[in-house]
Symmetry: C2
Subunit: 174 residues, 2 copies
């Protein structure tokens, strides 16, 4: 059985709405999804990178994120033909461990928690595919990187791209 590793933030966990609300509320701005076209928030506001990272360090920041549309259904379908692991770069924000674990148990209760991986450098992942929004993980990944579209990565052209979970289904099950 081939194995698919799946990232959390911006792939199954819808972090951007919360990120924008938290940022706009704190700094009295009105940034929208459109402003993030081609950028991460921290690149758009480099003078506030520390404040932005501090949002992610709040123990509950990751606990109440939305679930990306269709991700639950498609992952359940994929489980019939593939081994599924969730691989998140949690070491960047170690205070997020518990929130991320609880979020997964709440929204993806059909996954085996022995298949959750909290890591940093994803070259340690032994899988055939990695679905991720962050291209930095692909060059040293041993399998096929699959770029999940997120506003910050829209200008990347080097990788196989999926725009949503219906396209993930088509890629793996058609």
């Amino acid at each position: 059985m081939k194995r698919i590793a799946i990232d959390m933030d911006e792939v199954i966990a819808d972090i951007i709405p919360k990120q924008l609300t938290r940022y706009n509320d704190t700094f009295n701005e009105a940034l929208t999804l459109k402003d993030l076209h081609g950028y991460k928030l921290r690149h758009l506001r480099p003078e506030r990178v520390e404040d932005i990272c501090n949002f992610y360090r709040e123990p509950n920041f990751f606990r109440d994120l939305g679930v990306m549309k269709d991700s639950q259904e498609v992952i359940q379908e994929l489980m019939g033909k593939y081994e599924i692991f969730i691989t998140t770069a949690a070491m960047e924000y170690p205070t997020s461990f518990t929130a991320k674990y609880e979020w997964l148990k709440e929204h993806f209760p059909f996954l085996n928690d022995l298949n959750f991986v909290f890591c940093g450098d994803k070259s340690i992942i032994n899988a055939d595919y990695l679905i991720d929004d962050n291209v930095k993980h692909f060059p040293n990944f041993k399998g096929q990187g699959i770029l999940f579209t997120s506003p910050h990565n829209v200008n990347e052209t080097k990788y196989v791209r999926v725009n949503n979970w219906q396209e993930v289904r088509d890629y793996f099950l058609k």
Copy 2:
């Protein structure tokens, strides 16, 4: 550069003395290291497996463990010739995440925390070697499993064995 994945408990973290103290204090027994020859504590006292697992679920159980003799020095030496990752089956006790992370930062500050991996099923680890006391991780590991001696595994004969960190040094650097 070849990559070595290293387990925590009973390999770099000296869990058994605390385990015995905690157990003996709770149940008014006097088990010693000798009693664990060939057994894990939970196999020696199967009627108390839930109580024993509850020790590990205490958020700080893993925070003040001792460091296995010579592990710090030898790992620093190994870093000159190998990539080092710490790979621990933390998903079995999710309440241990923070304690394990802080313990690593305290005792192995020379390691990059992006090279820490909290996982469950270690077949997800992409490394050339895995030093572990638990043989269950070896059959599906893609590289060479190296069994680190611990009382419970003394009767295992199927794997390359190292008895202490001096023997790890000899295996990798001689």
